[in-house]
């Protein structure tokens, strides 16, 4: 008896389990590319894309945008900046322009750099987030080649990104009449991500910002130390300076625009920028011609899908059209094959 039960156990133990998993009989859905799934799928997706394409194009068209490249317009200044010895010389440049149509709603002012490679590998890693968190102000690890000045004093903020910060100042003036000039009120707040402003960048904890940065020096290309970036608004200084934060979020492509200011919607600008004559008054500090770059200013409104972006709309429209074309030809082929099959079967 004993042996028998052992035998049975032995028999069972060697016998594979009869489970769906082990016998490869798991319940499963077998996917088929049937005409009933594919063709309607193509038609509906195509329709969706066509619809979205039109919608996107319309909304992109509704965006008002003006772009002015001022490198050539301010060629004097550009030339001046090519020589490093003129570092502390001021150079201003006024660029008049005309807005043909009213720019309704929120208007944003961007600076645009051409041919500026913020995405070089060694550039993008040349920063120290721990320093920027204000935790360890003298931590300049990873910041090569801008870690310390010639005296060995750590740079704050260190690194190539911070050092190359865009430092032109651009003012916008409105000329309702040829003689009247109104400075368009600009806001430097709200141009950063909340997470950047509140998590990624922190000033060193101290009552007095300048003293917090003692033991460090300003980046070599900067005119002022980091705690004096915005003389008007003491809150907007140190690592929490909005322009600094915007600059530190490096661009993906060598031509990029970064948000510079928002138009403060007060007074005559409550509903946006009215059509008319304007001018940019630019303190030209940032040299770009040395590397064959260009600078520009962009004024733009936004819609639900962001700024002007015709590419997306056109791409959607094209894709939708191609899908419909494909769907029609596939239907034709399918019907033909079906007929042939029926013929051959009969």
């Amino acid at each position: 008896m004993e042996r028998n039960s052992n035998d049975v156990r032995g028999l069972l133990s060697r016998m594979p389990d009869n489970t769906a998993f082990k016998q490869q009989r798991l319940p499963a859905w077998r996917s088929h590319l049937t005409a009933w799934a594919v063709l309607p799928g193509f038609f509906t997706t195509g329709a969706f894309f066509l619809g979205m394409g039109i919608l996107l194009i319309l909304s992109a068209k509704s965006v008002k945008e003006i772009e002015i490249t001022y490198t050539s317009m301010c060629s004097n200044c550009a030339k001046l900046r090519e020589n490093a010895s003129n570092f502390y010389k001021e150079c201003t440049c006024s660029v008049p322009f005309f807005i043909p149509e009213k720019m309704p709603g929120n208007v944003y002012m961007y600076y645009k750099l051409h041919n500026f490679y913020q995405n070089l590998r060694r550039y993008t890693i040349s920063r120290n987030n721990r320093q920027l968190l204000g935790e360890d102000i003298t931590n300049v690890e990873n910041c090569a080649p801008f870690q310390r000045d010639s005296n060995g004093i750590p740079i704050a903020p260190c690194g190539a990104i911070a050092n190359s910060m865009f430092n032109d100042t651009i003012l916008l003036s409105y000329y309702p009449h040829s003689s009247t000039r109104i400075n368009v009120p600009l806001l430097s707040s709200g141009i950063t991500w909340w997470t950047d402003k509140h998590i990624k960048f922190q000033n060193p904890r101290s009552n007095n910002l300048p003293s917090a940065f003692t033991g460090t020096t300003k980046p070599p290309y900067w005119r002022k130390p980091v705690y004096q970036l915005d003389p008007e608004n003491p809150e907007n200084n140190g690592f929490l300076n909005n322009d600094f934060i915007v600059w530190m979020r490096v661009a993906a492509l060598p031509t990029f625009k970064k948000l510079y200011r928002r138009i403060h919607r007060t007074g005559p600008f409550a509903n946006g920028l009215p059509a008319g004559n304007y001018s940019f008054d630019i303190a030209y500090n940032f040299p770009v011609t040395v590397f064959k770059g260009e600078k520009g200013v962009v004024l733009s409104t936004v819609t639900w899908s962001g700024g002007s972006n015709l590419f997306l709309g056109i791409a959607y429209l094209t894709t939708g059209a191609v899908m419909w074309l494909a769907a029609f030809s596939m239907t034709a082929v399918h019907l033909k094959m079906k007929k042939r099959n029926i013929v051959s079967e009969s």
Partner: protein, 1190 residues
């Protein structure tokens, strides 16, 4: 275990002295411990790591890791490589460790087998591994021989002992070994303990049939030969016990010397994969060079000016050097085109498939309680590409059980059993077998279903009685009766055993014999016949006869033999009976039964006396004794009266004909390679429907010389071509033949042919100048049977096909003689559940029934191949899509080796985000249900033609990957170039771009795997959706505040996910990218389904074709038999036993009537046996009865 590993210088000669361990230890011969394992606990880690780093891939990744540690070129953190590398090394190490553990276990099991060793005069139980050279060990009946022994003495007279060498050479008939006379008297332990002979012999070698040595004992020299040796792996049979002196032990035994090192087998996909990986490396270097040149130019044109903002590294002094560095940086970045996880994933998938094979209930044999086992886990997909199967016969196709199945007695056929449907019923379905209880001496294991035969016996039909009397008298079986009524027959061939047992059950019980008498219980009555002569069997005569005198004094000759021979020697009066019997014979032969014709002849006293006189003279003749004897025999075996015929079923394994038919339909060619005789092999060819009467012709090549063989092959080819020429598709064959290409016209010939080739002819056919001719001829035939082949020839045939046909070969066998071919073939399959395990140990897959082969190939193999191909296609696709984005980005980032993605994404992409769905597909995917792949064997074809993954498919995948990468980069590029966020802030920052591209990539490859997955189980769902979920979870976690605050410099993307993925523009981009990437694939696949559907597609969609195919299937199953006259004669018998019996040498003295013992021709029988052996051993073309050759 340490003992096993000892290394010794090569031996010149071997000396072993019996019972003198001290003396023998001087030579440090290997002990009987065998070791197949590779590691032990201490050596595991270093040895295993060393082995792993011999893999090119692993070394390559190590190299990459070192590159990444150089700061100037480190474009990625070191952990992107080390994490996968460590993972890979660990997984492989664990696998190797488990494998080795099982090897240790099996070694231990063999090493711990018990054997009785004579130590200091006492027999002691010892483990096999403790047996030393020079020990004397005792073997008992049915035991495995533990080492190579010199036979000293045995329980049988004259130091004889019987062994079965199936393990070694696959021959199933028993062989005789004899101790040299001086030692054969050493029967008891005391004498043996005093034995101190010394053997000096050849060093260990792998020649199974040769041994030369000398025994020095008592100042005398005795030559030793193979005839005195018992080799490890043999089984002692019909011998109660024997003693042997250990000459070679453990690794030195001929068996182990023959087993050799297992060659590491690689699949063709492996090889293709390696080639492709090399190409990809080449591609990688090209990309690197292009980007490096780009970098040099960029630095020269732009970068040198941009130095204001980003000065060059201190080490970099020129644009050229920067380009050089950037080359290495790009190599690091782009290395993900050949991800390290590829190799691991492939292994995991194969492991999964292996488990499915192990778990398959339909490949589990209830009777033998053996599940199928995938012993090698690296060959699975090759199972789906097999084109040639080389099968052993005995034990593989047949069970090596002979069954008395039918007989024809005086024109009446007995033994047909019909079930309700009129089919010959399978064993299980048959009605009750007939009851032999009337006969107390009946063998209970004998079954017969036709009651009419028993009726005939009981009624006393004289012909039937004579029929069984013949069977009980005319044979060379020895009987043994341990207790009253418990009869054991020692048959030299299973055929004979079956016949004598049949007679026994039908009331004609062969009870005992002496050299001069045979005692038979006829229907309960003991009758002793006087045995006057045994006219022995041999291959030329193909018959044997006995001449007996019955109790009434009448002399009668009983003869059984091949129909072709015997039917010509009948008395003319048998004409009518002959016709009916011939019909029956044809019927039996058509069923694949082995037939013998039985006849008798009454002899006059005077005639006999005169004949006996002549026979005596012939047997005493000095020259050409054999010829003279033969002619004397011929003379008497004439004008015989036909009694009937027997039909013995060489019991096939279950489902063999069906399996062969199915595999043939799947375009797999089956060659039978057997050590058995031509007749037997052909017979089995018919019974398992490899050969049919429908075949145009069966060519038989039996030439003994090179010229003959060449001529025969040439004729065969000519015939085949002639017939196809008459079919007439008039292009010149000669022209094509002369072309060197082997895919010759012969492949396309009309008509079905088969080739049967004998071992000695094969030896010539395999010579370098003829092998192509042979192969061409053989491949043109639908079936090929090679008989009398040696183990080495088996391997050569496989090698030949491997070499020239570039086809995947599979060898299946059960015995040690199949080991060489199992190891040579791409895939070796061992039949398990038998006594021997040599074949199984050497095999890659093992199961216990030949019929499981169809499931292994058509279901598991097919699926494995399909899954592996789909897996590889997808894998290369996803990695190209992933990696090439960097290439395009290079043009926009000054070729600075900036990555598009976050480094964590790069680390995790292959091992987390995209690994499991494709693994699930690789493990679980099914295109058609398993039943369908059996119903439509043609579904197997894509694998054979290598259609699913080849260089073309690879390039398509790569192209698709590159296409995807282009869209993956340029669509976001187009969008980001201008766009801003809906709150007016910048959208086109690097981190948002990275997140957008990464997210679209993960979604696109997930959708793609969804498209590729044909069989969505819950697991697939879980993995695919899970991967997406995990991607987003990890994304948000990596971009979270907590991680950033802990490691601000490592997790720089803080807040990115929530900011980026909240933008509608980003989602529009992702949707657009996904649709544009996937849409062409769907459209293409849909059109392909419509315009050029594969069979598997058709099977999936329509059931219409199914009926047609089924009809065809059934048609194939029908037994095709026409009335062609064909001999079903086959008999696995060896010559010389008749003489042995008549000499009385093999009979125990106790059972002998000593008085009647005559010493006539007393020692010639063993001479005959020996001569036969040496004949075959000396020349393989001698073609005697032993295909044994190293």
């Amino acid at each position: 275990m340490a003992l096993c590993t000892k290394k010794r210088p090569p031996e010149e000669e071997r000396r072993a002295r019996a019972n003198d361990r001290e003396y023998n230890e001087k030579f440090q011969y290997a002990s009987n411990c065998i070791k197949t394992s590779k590691y032990n606990i201490v050596t595991f880690l270093p040895v295993n790591l060393f082995e792993q780093f011999q893999e090119v891939a692993n070394t390559y990744f190590l190299f990459l890791l070192i590159l990444q540690l150089i700061p100037q070129i480190s474009s990625l953190s070191w952990f992107t490589t080390i994490v996968p590398l460590v993972l890979v090394l660990t997984i492989t190490a664990v696998k190797d460790a488990t494998d080795d553990y099982f090897r240790h276990k099996s070694d231990n099991q063999v090493n711990n087998r018990q054997s009785q060793v004579l130590i200091s005069g006492i027999l002691q139980q010892e483990q096999w591994m403790n047996v030393r050279v020079g020990d004397i060990i005792k073997l008992e009946n049915n035991q495995f021989v533990a080492a190579d022994l010199l036979l000293l003495s045995s329980s049988e007279p004259h130091g004889l002992c019987y062994i079965e060498t199936a393990e070694l050479d696959g021959e199933t008939n028993m062989k005789v070994r004899q101790a040299i006379p001086v030692t054969s008297e050493l029967g008891d332990i005391n004498k043996l303990a005093k034995f101190d002979g010394e053997v000096i012999c050849e060093p260990p070698n792998n020649k199974l049939d040769k041994f030369s040595g000398t025994l020095y004992w008592k100042e005398n020299k005795f030559p030793l030969s193979n005839q005195n040796m018992l080799l490890r792996g043999c089984v002692l049979r019909n011998t109660e016990w024997c003693f042997g002196l250990v000459i070679f032990a453990g690794p030195d035994t001929k068996l182990m010397q023959n087993s050799g090192r297992t060659k590491f087998k690689r699949t063709s996909i492996d090889r293709l994969m390696n080639t492709l990986v090399l190409w990809i490396f080449g591609f990688l270097v090209c990309m690197g060079v292009i980007l490096a040149i780009g970098n040099a130019i960029w630095e020269y044109e732009v970068g040198v000016r941009f130095q204001v903002y980003l000065p060059w590294d201190e080490a970099v002094d020129s644009a050229f050097f920067s380009g050089f560095l950037s080359f290495w940086s790009y190599i690091i970045i782009l290395n993900t085109v050949v991800p390290i996880s590829l190799y691991v994933s492939v292994e995991v998938i194969r492991l999964g498939h292996s488990y499915f094979i192990n778990w398959d209930k339909k490949m589990y044999c209830m009777k033998k309680r053996t599940p199928a086992e995938a012993r090698t886990t690296t060959l699975n997909e090759e199972l789906g590409q097999v084109e040639y199967i080389f099968s052993d016969k005995t034990g593989t196709l047949t069970q090596n059980i002979m069954i008395f199945n039918k007989c024809s007695i005086y024109g009446r056929s007995y033994g047909d059993v019909f079930d309700v449907l009129g089919h010959k019923a399978e064993l299980g379905e048959r009605p009750e077998p007939i009851d032999f209880s009337f006969n107390p001496l009946a063998d209970k294991k004998f079954l017969f279903w036709d009651p009419s035969l028993l009726e005939a016996v009981k009624v006393g039909d004289p012909h039937t009685h004579e029929f069984f009397r013949l069977l009980s008298l005319c044979h060379t079986v020895m009987s043994e009766e341990k207790n009253e009524g418990e009869l054991y027959y020692k048959a030299q061939s299973p055929d004979e055993g079956a016949l004598v047992t049949a007679a026994r059950n039908f009331g004609f019980v062969f009870r005992s014999r002496t050299p001069k008498t045979i005692t038979v219980h006829e229907m309960g009555k003991a009758i002793t016949y006087q045995l006057l002569a045994i006219l022995d069997f041999n291959n030329i005569r193909k018959r044997m006869s006995v001449i007996v005198r019955n109790s009434e004094g009448k002399i009668r000759l009983y003869c059984k033999g091949a129909d072709t021979i015997l039917l010509e020697r009948l008395h003319p009066s048998n004409h009518e009976l002959l016709n009916t019997t011939t019909d029956h014979l044809n019927e039996y032969a058509g069923d694949g039964l082995r037939t013998l014709v039985l006849a008798y002849k009454d002899l006059e006293e005077d005639y006999y006396e005169e004949w006996a006189e002549r026979r005596l003279r012939a047997s005493l003749a000095q020259d050409s004794r054999e010829d003279r004897l033969a002619s004397v025999y011929d003379e008497v075996e004439n004008d015989m009266m036909l009694l009937g015929a027997t039909a013995i079923e060489d019991k096939l394994q279950q489902g063999v004909p069906e399996t062969i038919a199915l595999l043939t339909l799947a375009n797999i060619k089956i060659w039978v390679l057997t050590g058995d005789k031509q007749e037997t092999a052909v017979n089995i060819g018919y019974s398992c429907k490899m050969l049919t009467d429908d075949m145009t012709e069966v060519f038989i090549v039996t030439g003994h010389t090179v010229l003959e063989v060449r001529e025969e092959l040439r004729k065969a080819r000519e015939k085949m071509m002639e017939s196809s020429r008459t079919v007439g598709n008039g292009f010149s064959y000669q022209e094509k033949l002369s072309s060197s290409k082997l895919t010759s016209v012969l492949e396309a010939i009309a008509g079905e042919y088969a080739l049967v080739i004998n071992g000695h002819s094969l030896a010539h056919a395999l010579e370098a100048d003829m092998e192509l001719e042979f192969l061409e001829t053989a491949c043109a035939c639908k079936a090929v049977i090679c008989c009398r082949v040696t183990p080495l020839q088996k391997a050569q045939v496989v090698e030949l096909v491997k070499k020239y046909k570039k086809a995947v070969t599979l060898a299946i066998g059960d015995g040690a003689n199949d080991v060489s071919m199992i190891k040579t073939a791409h895939i070796g399959v061992g039949i398990s559940g038998q006594e021997g395990i040599q074949a199984v140990l050497a095999s890659d897959y093992s199961f216990s029934q030949f019929k499981f082969l169809q499931r292994l190939l058509l279901v598991h193999g097919r699926w494995s191949y399909l899954r592996m191909c789909k897996f590889l296609c997808y894998f290369f696709y996803k990695n190209f899509a992933f990696t090439m984005v960097h290439f395009w980005f290079g043009f926009f980032c000054g070729f600075s080796a900036q990555t598009v993605y976050d480094q964590y994404f790069i680390t995790l992409y292959n091992i987390v985000y995209t690994s499991l769905p494709v693994l699930a597909m690789g493990v679980f995917d099914q295109d058609v249900p398993e039943q369908r792949s059996m119903e439509y064997p043609k579904l197997y074809e894509p694998g054979q033609l290598n259609l699913l993954f080849n260089k073309r498919e690879f390039f398509i995948c790569i192209a698709q990957g590159i296409y995807t990468s282009v869209l993956m980069f340029f669509i976001p590029y187009g969008v980001f170039a201008e766009a801003t966020r809906d709150d007016g802030t910048q959208l086109a920052d690097y981190q948002s771009f990275a997140v957008t591209v990464a997210t679209s990539l993960v979604i696109v490859v997930s959708v793609q795997i969804g498209l590729d997955t044909g069989y969505w189980t819950a697991i697939n769902h879980f993995f695919i959706w899970g991967s997406l979920a995990v991607y987003f979870a990890i994304l948000f976690a990596m971009h979270s505040k907590g991680l950033f605050e802990m490691f601000p410099n490592q997790f720089r993307f803080v807040g990115n996910a929530q900011n980026t993925l909240a933008q509608p523009t980003v989602w529009f981009t992702i949707v657009l990218t996904t649709v544009v990437c996937i849409m062409p694939v769907v459209a293409f696949r849909f059109l392909k389904l419509d315009l050029k559907p594969e069979l598997s597609d058709t099977v999936r969609y329509t059931q219409l074709v199914r009926k047609k195919q089924k009809a065809q299937h059934r048609c194939m199953r029908r037994v095709g038999r026409t009335g062609s006259r064909r001999s079903g004669y086959a008999f696995s018998h060896q010559e010389g036993f008749g003489e042995l019996i008549m000499s009385g040498k093999n009979m125990r003295l106790s059972s002998l009537a000593l008085s009647s013992f005559t010493t006539r021709s007393s020692s010639s029988w063993i001479e005959t046996l020996r001569r036969k052996k040496s004949d075959s051993a000396s020349s393989p073309s001698g073609g005697a009865d032993k295909p044994l050759k190293g």
